[in-house]
């Protein structure tokens, strides 16, 4: 193990290890970060929810967007699987259907980063899942 | 002056531990901890030896041994039973549990059964207050113990082998 010889060394190590606990830090303050819930019931998994989730997690991390990506049970929109719910800080949750990799990319680029609306929103009246 | 008899192995253990602490009198408590961990208790002869090794007086060593409740001069049972008497355990009935152990084993606190199997002692808060009242047998922790469970706990060890 390398010695920490200076303050700069310490900062470097901190940056290196920060990602290790990023997930924990974010989950401790979900309301301050982007929250994504992926419906992951049998129907979801069958239609590729797992791949979608993996993609979202790695993409958000890659782009250094603080987010919490969780899985949830069936949202009740089996016809539109994979479905995800996205909550931006201070905003109401929005549910998207048929989210494959391409769609996910679009959601991240447009909705998450620029707050522009994209197609595929499932208009519903529910509080949360 | 009566000669003090100790097994050679014991002498070596004690000397080694004292040497580890540079035979420094100021490390007496650390030395006692180590010796008790090895021998299980601190008999008079061992205290004499420690005093000699640390160039201290045996009265002083004994004064320290009798000051701290962690140190004991009587060998503990094969299965030492410790009942937590911390406040949390107390208010949740530790005393009744203790009484039951005493009654079942016909044993007083700090004593060991004739067969050397069990000894009873009280502890101050093991920090498992959420499980109060707590009983420890050796390293094993029993939580939320009721007096009715005491017989069962003892039975676990009666055959000489704890069912884990």
């Amino acid at each position: 193990m390398a010695k920490v010889k200076s303050l700069a060394d310490l900062k470097r190590i901190k940056e290196e290890v920060q990602t290790k606990i990023k997930l924990r830090e974010n989950s401790d303050r979900p309301e301050q970060v982007v929250q994504v819930k992926v419906a992951m019931a049998t129907c979801g998994i069958a239609s590729g929810a797992k791949e979608t989730m993996n993609y979202i997690i790695s993409e958000l991390e890659h782009q250094a967007i603080d987010a919490v990506v969780t899985q949830t049970g069936c949202m009740g929109y089996c016809y539109a699987e994979p479905t995800i719910e996205v909550t931006l800080p201070g905003k109401e949750p929005v549910v998207f259907g048929h989210v494959d990799k391409t769609k996910a990319e679009e959601i991240i680029e447009k909705y998450v980063k620029r707050n522009e609306l994209v197609d595929g929103i499932i208009p519903v009246n529910y509080k949360s899942i | 002056m009566p000669k003090i008899k100790l097994a050679e192995k014991t002498i070596n253990i004690v000397k080694e531990i004292c040497a580890k602490y540079d035979n420094n009198e100021g490390e007496l408590i650390n030395v006692l901890h180590n010796v008790q961990a090895k021998l299980g208790y601190l008999p008079a002869e061992v205290q004499e030896l420690i005093a000699k090794e640390l160039n201290s007086s045996v009265a002083k060593v004994y004064g320290v041994v009798t000051f701290y409740s962690f140190f004991t001069m009587t060998p503990m049972g094969e299965f030492p039973i410790s009942i937590c008497m911390g406040t949390a355990c107390y208010v949740r009935g530790a005393e009744q549990v203790l009484d039951e152990f005493k009654r079942q084993l016909k044993l007083e606190i700090g004593k060991t059964t004739e067969d050397g199997k069990f000894s009873i002692s009280c502890l101050r808060c093991v920090g498992a207050c959420g499980l109060a009242p707590v009983v420890m047998v050796g390293e094993k922790v029993y939580g939320r113990v009721s007096p009715q469970q005491v017989r069962k706990i003892i039975a676990e060890y009666q055959d000489g082998c704890p069912s884990s």
Binding site: V4, K5, K20 | I29, F70, T87, R124, G127, A128
Partner: protein, 597 residues
Amino acid sequence: MADYKMHIMVCGGSGCRASESDKLTQNLDTALQKNGLEEDVQVVTTGCFGFCEKGPVVKILPDNTFYTQVTPEDAEKIVEEHIIKGRQIKHLLYEDPNAKELIPDSKHMDFYKKQVRLALRNCGFINPENIDEYIARDGYAAIGKCLSEMTPEAVIEEIKESGLRGRGGGGFPTGLKWDITRKSEADQKYVVCNADEGDPGAFMDRSILEGDPHTIIEAMAICGYCIGADKGLVYIRAEYPLAIERLKIALDQAREYGLLGEDILGTGFNFDIELKYGAGAFVCGEETALIHSMEGLRGEPTFKPPFPSVSGYNEKPTNVNNVETFANIPVIINKGAGFFSQIGTGSSKGTKVFALAGKINNVGLIEVPMGTTLREVIFDIGGGIKDGKKFKAVQTGGPSGGCLTEAHLDTPIDFDNLIKVGSMMGSGGMIVMDEDDCMVAVAKFYLEFTLDESCGKCSPCRVGNKRLYEILDKITQGKGTKEDLDKLRLLGNVVKDTSLCGLGQTSPNPILSTLDNFYDEYLAHVEDSKCVAGQCKALMQYKIIPDACSGCTLCFRNCPVGAISGERKSPHFIDQSICIKCGVCYEKCKFDAIEIV
């Protein structure tokens, strides 16, 4: 580095570990491997979550699902249901004791809502055996800042400004203490961390050491820098094996990283830490006694002055602070004195950790801002009294503190307020009592503790506490007189006024406060031979109500001493001369046919 998508946080505190949380961790790992998820999900053993009542506790991130009383056998289900299928496991969720509903998310638990975690900031959050996780949480940034940007005087000034007061009980201003030690000239000085937590029912220091050992190491180094010491000593209870183990690991890691040892962070500052073990003596919480114990002597206190800051360990200037005090230091340095001092009350800044115990729903470890009321702590965070019973008293400050009543529930908790109402902060034990607790017996319990723990050096504590205990015992036996109550008060005051150290100076507090607040209960014992709470066995009898007794023989069969006689289907009878008042019959009776009189 594998990027984990989920973290399973398993409490590895002593309490949860006693309920096999380590086996649970193993099983979780196995189950993850079985499902090929070891790259996606990380199992983290953390320090205490605080929610000890329902241990072992498991928290799943990022969704903050909070599982309680999890057994090793539940591991597979957690992986298969929750991790893979995203379904919460209902029976492991925490049920709000009052609203009777399941709480899926720790963010919604009353227990956590009102807490502000500074000293406990990393407990339950990081793996205490991994220095990297500590560093990721700004660990060692504070010592870095001190060494590179601040003079020792500036650091002390910052601590002074923060208003931090010693959390071990005395409440002495920490910055001032450091300043005095700094100004004592000597060739060698010492930093001592008092980790000999001995209050029955208090375990905050243990939890910090188990959950976040590096914060203590860092804070001690900062203190060493400020006072001019290159040696630190942690005086730790030998009864805390897990804390010792974690601290040792942390020390090794810090040394390996060069954060302890010579030339720390290239600044020329040297500091290292050695462990010294306590051996079961409550009085060693008193700093002079602690120092004598570290020197290999009987842990007897000596008169102050000289204070340890002037002449302590090996007669060198020694700064003694307790664990929780140290745990606040990095926060103050990193976030600034202003951040810290805006929390709390006028005279007591920051937060305080309490160990909630007794007849309360949520037994555990909590941290709240100074100034939080007892009511908030007991009823909101603590979830109220167990089994719907009535709140009677809360004991704060351990054996040195007093019993407070309903009337004090809205008192904002801080150092001075508690003293004003006849108790004290102490190290933070908080024991809640309900209607079944006899206050005379409670006072006796505490006195028995002090009696056991008195070092015997000064006469008022050695003999005075014995006499106080004997009087209390007499009262609980129903043999007390009204004159005895006056004696308790008179003698208690003298013991307080004349004892050598804090132990004797506070030992009568449980008696004096119960006399003040529950005088009627004492009076009932001595005048009517009645124990209202039904706890003093000598003063009560179990009797069978013939009309209610169905003659089921259940009591009869369960009586351990054969004191109950009677025929099936006809009312039973308890022979009072044989009865040991164990209460088994009372508990067993299904017809409420046994009364306590």
